[in-house]
């Protein structure tokens, strides 16, 4: 069952995609409800931490230090992971990562894999590549299973099926699991998924996972989850293949002390994740006596896919500090209206608005940096203090430079208007002349309301966006400036 992934290269612009989502009342209700619930839980467990701001600062410093010495820590991870019996692969981009994983699965002798929820595999569209190679992937995270069976796409980095409600999930399970009698209580749905997945856990010999953290000091890999499906995937199969962006590394084991406090509280509003798995290479001793403890073969694919480009950009690089908690998505008033699909990328919401265009090296998704009112709610909740509004503004500047480059840039309407306004603002004389001119120009558009006040209900061109839902009061007969001067003259 292949499903069309979210591909920033072909996705419509954000305003267009958002328009379609805004018409889906059920989706908006689901998203609003889910983000309200998670935000409420997060606020409770964050509020009980007296040192939350210090933790955030510690998280920021750890991530910033890691990025500064990323080459060092990656090589340290590689050496320690290899020493522990893991096999480390390096992938330059998504295509190379897909090829490596497909080859590794084939080499494991399996034509199916069980998967732990992994945004990195979504980023590189791994499932379609596996299917094209005759390998069947089974998503084992409940939400990912819903997405896979429903031939849908993830809309949130932590809760990918957040846009679906219970009734919709029940319909998918009834149809795909052939359970016509299935109820819609959470218990019913979880039982159905459990029955469906147990058999896969016991049968499938190869697993694919992502990683929350790679620990350079030990060569260990850390995955946190809530359902226990991850623990199954990490322990039952013979071969485990982990794929991780190179940004996932942490210097020391002790750094988990900070991260494992910040992440669950920010992501799901839990004090601790129900399952925290950390494994280091393979257990060679037990493999010899046939009593295997965990996978006998462990591969980790370290993928760049534009991350070094982001690292090279001084102002954009804080994007890589992200630990994928999704708190910014829940807090974002834009995401709250549209849900995740409008972003045309597996990384939606504020973090998606800065990460996606940079992962595309600014060749695609140029509308995303503008998908924000810069309200700052994302920055306020970010556990590692990524100043998302600042990065958004930085990326907007890059987009403007692209749009105004060369001859075509000379005819860019927005750029022309912006330049003209900047020129007006540089001179008091021009500013006042423009105010007078504006009053004349608006006259044909002004209508008096019942109180005799003039309002504009329609504006042309780019400005028409304003008047589709709002009126605009006419310019005052006397500006503040005029009033101020008259007052000075009259002496009151």
């Amino acid at each position: 069952m292949s499903r069309g992934g979210l591909d920033p290269k072909t996705a419509p612009t954000f305003p267009m995609a958002a328009k379609a989502m805004l018409g889906d009342a059920q989706l908006r209700k689901n998203v609003r409800h889910a983000t309200d619930v998670i935000q409420g839980k997060r606020a409770r467990v964050v509020g009980e931490m007296p040192d939350w701001q210090e933790l955030r600062e510690a998280g920021k410093q750890i991530r910033r230090h890691t990025m500064e010495y990323l080459d060092f820590y990656l090589e340290e991870f590689e050496a320690n992971c290899t020493r522990a019996g893991g096999v480390v692969h390096w992938a330059r981009d998504a295509e190379e990562a897909r090829r490596i994983v497909v080859e590794l699965v084939k080499a494991s002798g399996s034509d199916e894999v069980i998967k732990i929820k992994s945004m990195t595999t979504e980023e590189i569209q791994l499932n379609p590549a596996l299917e094209a190679a005759g390998i069947h992937p089974y998503e084992t995270d409940l939400a990912e299973l819903i997405i896979q069976l429903g031939e849908d796409r993830p809309s949130h980095i932590v809760v990918p099926a957040l846009h679906k409600n219970r009734q919709e999930i029940r319909e998918i399970f009834q149809r795909e699991m052939n359970l016509p009698e299935l109820g819609d209580r959470p218990q019913d749905l979880a039982d159905a998924a459990r029955m469906f997945l147990r058999e896969k856990f016991l049968r499938v010999k190869t697993a694919v996972s992502g990683a929350n953290f790679l620990i350079a000091e030990t060569g260990g890999v850390c995955v946190v989850e809530s359902e226990g499906n991850g623990r199954m995937c990490l322990t039952l199969p013979e071969t485990l293949i982990t794929i991780a962006g190179i940004d996932k590394v942490l210097p020391r084991f002790q750094d988990l002390e900070v991260m494992l406090q910040l992440l669950p509280r920010s992501a799901t509003g839990e004090r601790m994740n129900p399952y925290n798995s950390i494994w280091t290479g393979v257990d060679a001793a037990s493999a010899d006596d046939g009593l295997r403890d965990g996978p006998g073969v462990f591969h980790v694919v370290l993928m760049d896919n534009a991350r070094t480009e982001i690292l090279a950009d001084e102002e954009g690089r804080q994007t890589l500090n992200c630990i994928r908690c999704g708190a910014c998505q829940n807090a974002c008033p834009v995401y709250r209206q549209t849900g995740g699909h409008a972003y045309g990328s597996v990384y939606a919401g504020p973090i998606g608005a800065i990460l996606t265009p940079q992962l595309q090296e600014m060749h695609h998704a140029q509308s995303l940096p503008y998908a924000s009112s810069l309200c700052g709610a994302c920055y306020e909740v970010c556990p590692v203090k990524i100043n998302i509004p600042e990065v958004l503004i930085h990326l907007r500047n890059k987009v403007v430079k692209q749009n105004t480059a060369g001859v075509a840039g000379l005819f860019d309407v927005e750029a022309g208007a912006m330049k003209a306004m900047a020129m007006i603002f540089r001179s008091e004389r021009r500013f006042r002349a423009t105010q007078r001119l504006g009053r004349m120009a608006e006259r044909p558009l002004v209508r008096k309301d019942e109180r005799g006040q003039g309002w504009i209900g329609w504006l042309p061109g780019l400005l028409g966006g304003w008047t589709q839902a709002r009126d605009l009061e006419e310019m005052p007969k006397e500006t503040f400036r005029d009033w101020w001067e008259r007052r000075g003259r009259d002496g009151n």
């Binding site: 834009v334 009112s373 890059k398 540089r426 839902a469 709002r470 009126d471 605009l472």
Partner: protein, 224 residues
């Protein structure tokens, strides 16, 4: 102006002032915003305190002017920005933090709700300062707004570039305002107010928007 004069301050209005450059800067036109920073410094360098009736303009100055000055690279400009910024205040901030006031002797006999503009709330950390000023106003019937911290959806050029999403955000805000049954919605930022007012008028709700300063300027007999 009237509030500050009532409190005994001398208010000047440098005529050459125009715009802080936020719209340009936030839309990606950083180069166009640079001369406006220099203009601001030239206009206001002599002032003891600069009071700005718009929280997002102050946020623009505090958050971006220092690095813009560094980008321009003139040592004396960097020094002037550093010296001037601590003297720049948002209007309510000037009253509560600089002057330590809550009661400015205002009278405003109307039912009012307060919207916390994002930049005032998160960038300037105004906190409950504006609310304390409002609570001290005689005759006022102050009602709390549900979803106080939610953005109204203005966001400068966001309102036209993403007009649909912006309108949806605005609809949530105006619903909250109407639920308070207030006669007027106030804030420390005219841009939010212009946005909210645009929808309140389009829907012919009869609810108006007033800047915090207009309420604080209200006096017995003079109060509107």
């Amino acid at each position: 102006m009237r509030v500050l004069e009532r409190l005994g301050h001398t208010v000047e209005f440098p005529r050459g002032q125009t715009c802080c450059g936020q719209m340009h800067y936030n839309t990606g036109y950083q180069a166009e915003a640079m001369p406006l920073l220099e203009r601001f410094v030239a206009q206001f360098r002599g002032a003891e305190a600069v009071v700005v009736p718009s929280s997002s303009c102050v946020a623009m100055m505090r958050d971006h002017y220092p690095k813009m000055a560094v980008a321009i690279g003139r040592a004396e400009l960097i020094a002037e920005v550093d010296a001037l910024l601590p003297r720049v205040f948002e209007f309510s901030e000037f009253l509560t933090k600089r002057l330590g006031l809550e009661d400015v002797g205002a009278y405003y006999p109307h039912r009012v709700t307060y919207h916390a503009s994002c930049h005032g709330l998160r960038n300037l950390l105004l906190g409950d300062g504006p609310m304390r000023l409002l609570k001290a106003v005689r005759g006022i019937d102050l009602v709390e707004l549900q979803g106080l911290e939610q953005c109204c959806g203005f966001g400068g050029t966001f309102a036209v570039k993403n007009a649909d999403v912006s309108s949806a955000m605005l609809a949530e805000k105006t619903t909250a305002v109407l639920n308070t049954k207030a006669e007027a919605c106030t804030a420390c930022d005219n841009s939010c107010l212009m946005h909210i007012q645009g929808a309140l008028h389009r829907q012919r709700t009869g609810v108006k928007t007033v800047h915090l300063a207009e309420i604080l300027a209200g006096e017995d007999g003079v109060g509107r």
